[in-house]
Structures are given as structure tokens and as C-alpha cells.
């Protein structure tokens, strides 16, 4: 039986691992290769490196990080962040990345997904979707967007809220008007091999994954969905696999700061009947 994947995510800035809590404050958590090796020992199933370097010079630093990681770890890894076109994808794959994840560039020019999939194969093209709950009722009431009356365990909403999410880009600053579920379907049609789905409402909160969002996307597409944003406890992983129907779950800070190891999470999941690789 295919196992559910646990994927630590490393945010990399200027060649160093950092973690953005809600994309604002950053804390240094070390060298990418050392961190990656640590996760290989913990039997992480895959790794994601998110390049949050803004400058152009920083881009070549990332290619170098990718090369060093590829030379030292033997599991699949994805690189995302700031990828603009076919040239960037080629550089990262040639440096040893197994997959790349496209976000803003794909929203701006969806044909990039098709071109990249044709050229390099769907299996290495991940489309990252940052989604935020559309919640006009809460907005009018002056409540924090996406919060309020939702039951986090079941993902059920109080009467006046709707299950609808908007794609946002630029670290959540820019709304696009696109519906997240429709965009996921479109990305699949264009040739994406996988969806990396981040809830911008839950990212950095440690309140749990957005189960309703994950489930809505996972049921809408026939490609694997990686749920991201909000992992704070072992139960959260169980919920996103069982109720959210995710194929994989991604987390950063709970692993980086040693709150749990990947092994802890997997042992827990196995006990609760989720297929994982121990």
C-alpha cells in the first residue's frame, strides 16, 4: 500500500535555512545540508526547499545549495520559490533537484506549466497554491479572515460561511481572484504532477491544517496533494490524512525546533491506522 508522506520544508534565504512564521519574523535554523541529513536520518519521505531569497545573486546561491544537498542525501526533494521560467527549472533539475514547484509564475502564465511538463515530464512539476478563505461575512463583521466559527476538526462551518478559497501570491500579499479548487483542476489539466497546497489562514498558526480546503482540492484532482500550513500536533497530521484526504503533509517549524521528529509523527500515525513508512 502506498504510504502517506511526511515532508519537512526548509525555507532557504541566502544559502541558510530560516523559517518564516506567517512570513514575517525569521529565525535561523542552520545549514541546509546538515538539516537535510538530519531529516534523512529521521526517515522523512521527501524534502521541500523553498527559496525565499529576493535578489538575483541569491538565485545562483540556491543552485549551489541544491547541488550540495543532492550530493549528500538520497531521497526526493523539491525546490520552489521565485522560479520564473524554463531556464530556472532546467538549472535546478540539472543541479540535482527531483522536482520544482511553480507558484506565482504559473498564476501569471499558466502555459508555463504545460511547457515545463512537456519538456521535463509531469512527475517533476509541482504547482504550489497558496489559498485564503473567502469569507465575506466575517470580513463585514470585522473578524479576522478565515477564522471564527469553523470547527477545525471537521472543517465544518457555521451557517453563514462558505467553503471557498482564493489563490493568493507574493507570500499572501496579492489576491488573484482565482478560485483555489478551479486553479488546482486547471494546473492538473496543464500537466502538473502534484499540488502543494498551503493554507494562508493557517500557515504559522500551529492550529492544524485547513481540512476543508485540503479535502476540496484533493477530491477535485487525480494527482497527489501535499497539504501545508498549520501543523502543530501529531493529531493534525492524522486529521489531514483521514479527513482532508491528503497524500502528503508538509511542516516546518514543529520539526525544525525539535518539537517532534518525523519518526514521532509516523509512529503515532501508524498506531492510528495510517499507512506510513517507519
Amino acid at each position: 500500500m502506498l504510504t502517506k508522506r511526511i515532508i519537512p520544508c526548509l525555507d532557504v534565504k541566502d544559502g541558510r535555512v530560516v523559517k518564516g512564521v506567517r512570513f514575517v519574523s525569521l529565525r535561523d535554523a542552520g545549514d541546509p545540508v546538515a538539516t537535510a541529513k538530519q531529516y534523512e536520518k529521521q526517515k522523512a519521505d521527501e524534502l521541500v526547499f523553498l527559496d525565499i531569497t529576493a535578489s538575483h545573486e541569491g538565485r545562483s546561491t540556491m543552485v549551489d545549495v541544491v547541488r550540495r544537498v543532492a550530493g549528500n542525501i538520497f531521497m526526493p526533494f523539491t525546490v520552489g520559490g521565485g522560479i520564473r521560467g524554463i531556464g530556472d527549472i532546467r538549472d535546478l533539475l540539472n543541479a540535482g533537484a527531483d522536482k520544482v514547484s511553480l507558484n506565482t509564475a504559473a498564476v501569471q502564465r499558466p502555459q508555463l506549466i504545460r511547457e515545463a511538463a512537456r519538456r521535463f515530464g509531469s512527475q517533476c512539476i509541482v504547482v504550489a497554491i497558496d489559498a485564503r478563505r473567502r469569507d465575506p461575512v466575517s470580513r463585514l463583521a470585522g473578524m479576522p479572515v478565515g477564522r471564527g466559527t469553523k470547527n477545525r476538526r471537521t472543517g465544518k462551518l457555521a451557517d453563514r460561511q462558505t467553503n471557498s478559497w482564493e489563490v493568493v501570491t507574493h507570500g499572501g500579499r496579492k489576491p488573484t481572484g482565482l478560485d483555489a479548487v478551479a486553479w488546482a483542476r486547471c494546473a492538473e489539466k496543464l500537466g502538473a504532477g502534484e499540488i502543494l497546497l498551503t493554507s494562508m489562514d493557517f500557515d504559522g498558526t500551529k492550529d492544524g491544517f485547513d481540512i476543508a480546503l485540503t479535502r476540496a482540492v484533493s477530491e477535485a484532482v487525480a494527482i497527489p496533494v501535499i497539504a501545508s500550513g498549520g501543523a502543530g500536533t501529531k493529531e493534525h497530521f492524522f486529521d489531514v490524512f483521514r479527513s482532508g484526504r491528503a497524500d502528503a503533509a508538509l511542516a516546518a517549524s514543529i520539526f525544525h525546533y525539535g518539537q517532534f521528529t518525523v519518526g514521532d509523527v509516523k509512529t503515532y500515525l501508524k498506531k492510528r491506522g495510517i499507512a506510513v513508512r517507519i
Partner: protein, 204 residues
């Protein structure tokens, strides 16, 4: 005499990880881009990512087809990885009408049914009951990293030495004489993958 291992480069996918994994095991490999150079080698690695039809076309263009068949006929070991394993068979549903290498009789089929395709992630390999050298040092269930939409269905079930469940039970590892196929990516399967590759180089 120093034994030499060649990785067949036919322009399909990135050879970096495979090459790199052998380097990490302390084993030098050469990347070979032309069929007539295979004579110098004792072991062959046939990796591959992409479509069956494109791969066969590229192999043909670079003059690999006859030399690879001759290599196998001479009793030297070869390992096909992922698409490289599928190419060992006669033909694939992915590219109807295109002839494979035909080293292992059988077809390559597409996953069907309700499951997500590609079959992507870590899955269990159930080892054959008979003893196989390639499994030396590996006890119990083994897990490996898969990423594929098609699977090999060899005619002769005796060549199947590892099986995996994904909607159907399919051949994830095959062995015929000294020819091996691995549907997963040993170079991405952590310690277990490294062990399989080491065994291939050292004892197969």
C-alpha cells in the same frame, strides 16, 4: 583488471542523481552517450524518465539497441531503473507500436481504476520467496520511492522477484539471469536503495 560501470545517457532525464549515488558508494561510473562504446564496460545501468516511445527513439538514434542486447547476451549484468526497467520489455501501452528492447518478454501497462496516477511515493516491496543475491543484507519488508504511471507485466512470472500493491499487484523488481529491473528509484530510496545498488555492483 578494473571493473567498469557505464550509465547509458540517451538524453532522457537527469543522470546526476544516479551517478552521484554511485559516487557516494565509492563507485566510479562513466556516462556513455553512444552504443559502440559499451564494449569497454562490465556493467550497465539504464536509467530513464519520460515516455517509452521517446526513449526507444533516442536509444536507437544513439546506436544503443543492438549493443545493449549484445551486452546482455554476453552474460554481463545490466540494471534498468524506472523507465529503464520498462524498456527491457517488448512494448508499452504508453507508446503503441513501438518496440522495446525485448530482453524480458512481456508488456508494460498503465494503471487504471480510481487510484491517483502517477503512483508517487513510498511503497512496500514484497520479496520473492526464492533467494536473490540483490537482496543480500535486506531483511523483512522493504520500502522504496516510486514515481510512475505504467508498470511492467512480464510473461514469465518467475522473473518477478519483488511485488508491490497499487490497485493491482505489479512487478516492482525483476531478475532474469544477470538482468535486473527496478520500477522504483533506488537512488532516491535512502539506505535500502543504496544497499540494492551496492549489491548490484558487488555481487550481481
Amino acid at each position: 583488471m578494473i571493473k567498469k560501470t557505464a550509465i547509458i545517457d540517451y538524453g532522457m532525464g537527469n543522470l546526476y542523481s544516479v551517478r552521484n549515488t554511485f559516487a557516494a558508494l565509492g563507485m566510479a561510473t562513466d556516462t556513455v552517450g553512444c552504443g559502440r562504446d559499451l564494449g569497454h564496460y562490465d556493467k550497465l545501468i539504464l536509467p530513464g524518465v519520460g515516455a517509452f516511445g521517446d526513449a526507444m527513439k533516442e536509444l536507437k538514434k544513439r546506436g544503443f539497441i543492438a549493443p545493449v542486447r549484445d551486452f546482455v547476451a554476453s552474460g554481463r549484468p545490466l540494471i534498468g531503473i524506472c523507465l529503464g526497467m520498462q524498456l527491457l520489455l517488448d512494448e508499452s501501452e504508453e507508446s503503441p507500436g513501438v518496440q522495446g528492447l525485448g530482453i524480458i518478454p512481456g508488456h508494460v501497462r498503465k494503471f487504471s481504476g480510481k487510484l491517483k496516477v502517477p503512483h508517487m511515493g513510498w511503497n512496500k516491496i514484497k520479496k520473492a520467496v526464492r533467494r536473490c543475491r540483490i537482496f543480500r543484507g535486506l531483511q523483512g519488508d522493504i520500502y522504496a520511492y516510486f514515481c510512475h504511471s505504467y508498470y511492467a507485466a512480464p510473461k514469465d512470472k518467475k522473473v518477478v522477484i519483488g511485488e508491490t500493491e497499487y490497485g493491482v499487484r505489479f512487478a516492482s523488481m525483476i531478475e532474469k539471469g544477470r538482468v535486473y529491473g527496478m520500477q522504483f528509484h533506488p537512488e532516491k530510496s535512502q539506505d535500502i536503495g543504496l544497499m540494492l545498488l551496492r549489491n548490484f555492483i558487488e555481487i550481481c
